[in-house]
Amino acid sequence: MDRVTFGRIIKGGFVNFFRNGVVSLATVLVISLTMFMLGSVLVGGIFLNGVISNLEEKVDITAYFKLDTDERDILEVKSNLEKLPDVKGVVFVSRDEALNKFLERHKGDELYMKTIEIVGDNPFPASLEIQAVDPSRFEAISVFLESGRFQNLIDEKSPGIKNISYRLNQSVIDRLSVILRTIKLVGFGISLILALIALMVAYNTVRLAIYSSKDEISVMQLVGASRSFIRGPFLVEGVIHGVISALFTIVAFYPLLLWAGKRTAGIFGGIDIYGYYVSYIWQISFILLLVGIAIGVLSSALAMRRYLKV
């Protein structure tokens, strides 16, 4: 194909796009909707993944030490724990840090501040936050703490019961984790079906737009236009539809994710999806552009096949 013909095909695509204003607008909107669905599936998946892994990190064991325990002893426990194959990591939280965390969390809350003042001394014990390789290994770790030579260092909630906190919330977290995974799976399935439906609607919109040109297509063939010369402008139009839809979708995600990010960050303390979106904007834009162009061009190409028979 020579340059003149190529230029004519490109120009033809733009001319078609603008002269079929209403149809073009409808097509762009439908493709945008499709991409919006696909984008939501992606972002939703990333968000839920973030929440689940965040939650799993929360499922750790916190062992509180008696107030008078020497820091060196605690650090020894820490290094011993780190040698265990079941342990992923151990973080030491000193008494001062625990107090600071508490003050930070309840900043501006008169009642708590007063309570701390009245108590006078730092009431918080030092602790070790232990992350297991796998939540199912908690038992082994806690047995190690409760029965080893360190057992006397660990604070007791009531006589005989060690203050090791995973017991308090493990079952809740386990159940939540199962629920979230189910939501993720079901949500993903439903969104995928919705996205597929949207994709088919997009294809059908393009097909209808081309159907309305089917007489034109046959006339073009009868006056001696080759198949590629007829198909070209429709494919160019598909690219234009895709690019505009992608830009539209990228812009539309900003306010939506800003809102969703504000809402969800507070609930789970998980990742900030708006921040995520903004920091990955180039990669996301690239993917959306690619998807948009693919939807536009493939729909056009598939729909054209039917009408190029004469």
Binding site: R8, N16, N20, E216, M220, L222, G224, A225, S226, F229
Partner: protein, 226 residues
Amino acid sequence: MIYFDNVSKVYSPTSIALEDVSFSIAPKEFVSIVGRSGAGKSTLLKLLLAEESPSSGSVFFESHNIHKLSRKELPFLRRKMGVVFQDYRLLPHRTAYENVAFALEAAGKSEDDIAHDVQQVLELVGLMDKAWHFPHELSGGEKQRAAIARALVVAPEVVIADEPTGNLDPMNTWEIVRLLEKINDLGTTVILATHDKEIINYLKRRVLTIEKGKLVRDEAEGRYVL
């Protein structure tokens, strides 16, 4: 130049459009094909344009069996034929000028050639003043003149007109007929399908009469007899 060899077109056993039709057309001839609606005139032209394939027999254009041409070769054949339809079939989103230019663009002609040729044929059909109007802004006669300009601009060897005056008033009908005569005088073969008795009797050219899918008469200076 054009040769129909025992051509039949059967859509279904109860719907036989053409039956064993054979004839040939020489260069620079003006041939009218007459017959009632549904006699098979349009089918015959569709076969010639390779819009449809025959059930049996073959159609030759300059020694090429046109139904044996590949998809790639077909556009080149069609650039040797100019087609005019009863319903004009202009591209609705293009101006008269662009409609005429389209055939040349498709053939890969340069912009300068296109500008020159399009202007020439638009002047020939008398549509220069409406060149930048869209089809919906043109009258029936103007649309048909634009369509004829489109058929002519590729300098075809044959112009095929399928009931070109079917939707026109008598004034426009005669303008179109005279235009076709002029085209023929300039050396282009013209095939005109019509059921307009007055046109046939006026032309006094070769007439092929089709009745129920069969070629029943082929007269060198025919009159409309049905």
